[in-house]
Amino acid sequence: MPDRERIHIPLPTALQMLGEYARIRIGEQLRSVAFIIIYLLAFQILILRATPADALVIAGGVAMVVVGLTFFLEGLFLGLMPLGERVGLQLPKRSPIILIAMFGLLLGFGSTLAEPAIAALRTAGANVTAWETPLLYLLLERHPQTLVIAIGIGVGIAVAFGMIRFYFGLSLKPFVLTIIPVLLIVSAVLSFDENLSTIVALSWDTGAVTTGPVTVPLVLALGIGVSRATGKSEAAGGGFGIIMLASAFPILSVLVLAIGLSPGVPQPTDETAFFAPDNRNQAIQLFESPQTLARHAFTHGSEAGRRAFFSDDDAYRATLLALREDDELRSTLLGDLTLPQWLSEHASGREQDLFPRARPSAPAPATGQAGTRLGTVLAGEAQLAVRAVVPLSALLLVVLLVLLRDRPRYRDEVVLGIVLALIGMTILTAGIRLGLAPLGDDVGGRLPRVFRAEERSVERIIVEDFDRDLVFESISPDGERRMYFYLHDNREPRRVEFQPERFDPDRDRYVHIVRRPPLFGPQLTAVGIALVFLFAFGMGYGSTLAEPALKALGRTVEEITVGTVKRSSVVRAVSLGVGIGLVAGVARIIYDIPMIWLLAPPYLLLIPLTIWSEEDFAGIAWDSGGVTTGPVTVPLVLAMGLGIGGELGVVDGFGVVSMASVFPILSVSLYGFMIRARQRRSINQAERSDGDE
């Protein structure tokens, strides 16, 4: 476009305009983040009665989240979404459907490789062990690349299907009505297999996680472009529904991959049997080498496993002792851990005793200066942001410029948008890591203390020069005797039960283990559970309010419906759904409900809802399931799921995310029915009078 005479704006006016522009947008993001921050702080201060640690860092992190969200969203709206829509509009004009489908395949595949969603899955599976869930371990630790490729193929096929759907103006409903039952049936069948059942939760989570904050708006814009260009937007639901496909196909591809891998995978056993030399041939299949198997025993196993790993006791002791001197051995067996770290986190008491002087001391301050930490976090996140934004926008630009020979209308805006998206994503994710996630972890970690007895952490107190005479006995009415002694640290003396087997008469040493009673075990209190559920709900609701992909969806919905469906109501409906979903997810962890029992009812309910609902709302509803899980929700939700799971000794935190993605579909579908009832209001009188329609 030739530059017409430009209006020169004096600098003060320009700054004023920019200031106003920034103020409105930052204000908007501030409001969207406010809920989750206030909620977390209120929970911490009022219920947990603790002041947040590192208040300054957290405040800084939250400020970064606000600024990052502002930049990122502006980048989406200025650069990425117009670019996607432009490509979508031009594609059907210049290329045959087969090429469009190929492009979709490439875009979907590329976006999965670009957005590091898989990292979230690996976080959820951090505690996965090779003996309890061998197949899960194999997928996550041994073949993460294969897993990513499988997911990528799933997303690619989904986007290609989406393009075909828009091109021919097909309804989303038949897709939903075939894919979802197939997925449910496959999941249900797999639930009967001991090994494969562990994959079900993972695969459904994958579906929710794959569609990241860059992919969603891009694919949404692209779909809207294609469906506008072909003019079949009425039937195709106005360009919605593609995110749903991109969430459903990876579930299938992961399930298929798991079925493919499952033949040679040993069945779950207990730890000792797994590491035993007899089982070595079986176990080694899961690992690259005996060394990695040994490392797994050291970093994930317990003492029993390690003992079982070595054929005889001497070899075991010798290896342990060698850890101190032999650096190479240490790095092979312990990975990144230092010996003291390993001792304090993984070793048993007997193993610690082998290293008298390396007694676990206070953990070394892992964090240096706040400044350098900020620097490294920013650098790391910037790298991920570049990976997520650049290849996808480059692909679109190349297709637009080279293949379609078209240009975006405002080239400078597109470039600015891409830059803003990069900066925004970096600041946003860094802010989450520095501010929001620690705050969430802090609250999540302290949450169980509310309803636990006063002793709260597993702690080992070694009493030297213990004297048997300190022990006194008590008696119950029916004559049962117990032994106690008084122990004081700096404060009051406490009465502690004496257990003879912990007393080492040779060294006059008593090892007192502070046990915390199981959080949700015998003392399962209604109030405690209610509080956990309340927390989960608020966490889901609040973090979803701040989710950027959802904002992009909301804005698109508002634009397409010309304001008859407000973006704030869509966001609220989705957030409500996520809140409810998290409650369900936490319930699954607490009560150890099989995944299929939680997946089947909502999805079965969704089938009739989808049949009755209107085409556009069906698309919006199913899409909102995919957009909910993004950079804000996933760290917070996973932290909570893992925290509670860890308390209960549940191996993995999977399933929470997929719950957070079903319930929004339900809530938005129901909201769609409400809207429809309201929309009838002006014409229903007329309808009643002539009775047709």
């Binding site: 476009m1 030739p2 017409r4 005479e5 430009r6 209006i7 704006i9 320009a14 305009m17 920019l18 106003e20 522009y21 502006e74 200025l78 432009r86 509009l89 031009q90 059907p92 004009k93 506008r228 260009a229 072909t230 003019g231 079949k232 937007s233 078209d406 209308r409 400078d412 805006e413 600015l416 634009e559 397409i560 419906t561 010309v562 304001g563 008859t564 309201r678 929309q679 009838r680 209001r681 002006s682 014409i683 009188q685 007329a686 009078s689 002539d690 329609e693």
Partner: protein, 397 residues
């Protein structure tokens, strides 16, 4: 440039605002009668919802309620326009309040006179004429027993283009409070001054809300004045209002929804009297305030034209550029899609519709510049429609 060969057709444009839920009826009917170049746009209608407070509390809740609306625009030769309009009305019972609005505007359409585009269009629009010419009027075709709806003759269309976010809703509220009609809001993007700001333009939202109001012609100017004052259009950067003539129409009088307290609502009574009188003149409300002192401050532009360009998606930017070079101030572009009545054809459905408001003296220049820039693609030719706008207002006039 001005001697570029172009043809002008005197045609009529039928615009139909119909509730989203009834739009398929209108759609099918239009396709059935073979109307050419049907353009559809999405919008929303705004009505007042009044209902009693819950729990028997005294008073009423009054709020605005949005409903999705489909805006159909069809052009047809003048002699055929009435029958098409009647068919549209019959298809979705639009003469009943609450269902929609239909109106007819006479305008001049310019096409580039290149042989291929010319013949293509002619064939497209004349074939149905022959088809229906031998048979009774299209309206009667549908439901023979249906009484022919009474069309109101003395109407005018007020189009307000508002730049402020939420401005459409604010204006709609004013229009509803005045009891004029059911406002219909559509979206558009503005081009004009914004593009000359360089990258700083991102601070100015390009989104515009366009409010369409159908009002009795004799009150039109007074209503415009009230709208200008109530919506602060006399301040810079707020928006633009103009009036265009409507030759016939059926208007939606159902301004209020909610429980009805009488045997007939006030809207039904108004509609009935309109129908009896065949005009809205009896409703004239602004008697004797012409020549008020407000005239001095709010001077309306008297001799404007509304130019509408309909082109393939993506072309509007270039065309608007051309128009601005030829002297136009700016344009508002909306997205629409074309429904083709004759099966799969070349060209894509995505259309852009730009409206440009210019002074009559430069109108000719702008039109020829626009036609000059025509891409000449078969079946994708741009259409330029010109309509006079007897009253217009923006800041600084």
């Amino acid at each position: 440039m001005s001697d570029a060969p172009h043809v002008s057709n005197e045609i009529s444009r039928i615009t139909c605002h119909v509730h989203h839920r009834l739009s398929h009826l209108v759609n099918e009917r239009l396709v059935e009668i073979g109307a050419s170049s049907i353009l559809v746009e999405s919008g929303r209608s705004v009505r007042q919802l009044r209902r009693p407070r819950p729990f028997g509390l005294p008073g009423k809740i009054v709020r605005l309620e949005d409903q999705p609306v489909e805006v159909f625009r069809v052009t047809a030769p003048r002699e055929r326009a009435h029958s098409i309009m009647e068919a549209v009305i019959a298809s979705a019972d639009l003469d009943q309040p609450g269902r929609g609005t239909v109106y007819l505007q006479d305008l001049v359409e310019f096409r580039r006179a290149a042989a291929d585009t010319h013949s293509g269009d002619r064939a497209e629009s004349s074939r149905p004429v022959i088809g229906t010419g031998a048979t009774p009027a299209a309206g009667a075709l549908n439901q023979p027993n249906r009484p022919v709806p009474t069309l109101l003759r003395d109407l005018a269309l007020i189009t307000c283009i508002l730049s402020m976010p939420g401005g459409g809703q604010q204006l709609a509220r004013v229009a509803l409070d005045l009891g004029t009609c059911v406002p219909v809001v559509t979206l558009g993007t503005g081009t004009g001054m914004r593009d000359r700001l360089g990258l700083l333009r991102i601070t100015v939202p390009p989104e515009k809300e366009i409010v369409h109001l159908i009002v009795p012609a004799h009150d039109c100017e007074e209503i415009i004045r009230i709208l200008i004052e109530e919506a602060n259009l006399n301040q810079p950067g707020r928006g633009f209002v103009y009036q265009t003539p409507v030759s016939a129409g059926v208007i939606d009088t159902r301004l209020r929804i909610g429980p009805q307290e009488h045997a007939a609502s006030i809207e039904q009574i108004i509609a009935a009297i309109d129908e009896l009188k065949g005009s809205t003149a009896w409703r004239k409300r602004f008697v004797g305030i012409e020549g008020d002192e407000t005239d001095a401050t709010l001077r309306l532009l008297r001799n404007n034209r509304e130019i509408t360009v309909i082109c393939a998606e993506g072309r509007a930017a270039t065309l608007v550029e051309t128009a601005i070079e030829a002297g136009a101030g700016g344009a508002t572009t909306s997205r629409a899609r074309r429904l083709s009545s004759d099966g799969p054809e070349g060209g894509l459905a995505a259309r852009e519709r730009s409206t440009i408001s210019v002074q009559a003296d430069i109108c000719k220049n702008v039109v020829s510049a626009l036609l000059e820039a025509d891409s000449g693609n078969e079946g994708d030719a741009d259409r330029v429609q010109v309509l006079e706008a007897p009253a217009a207002f923006t800041h600084g006039t």
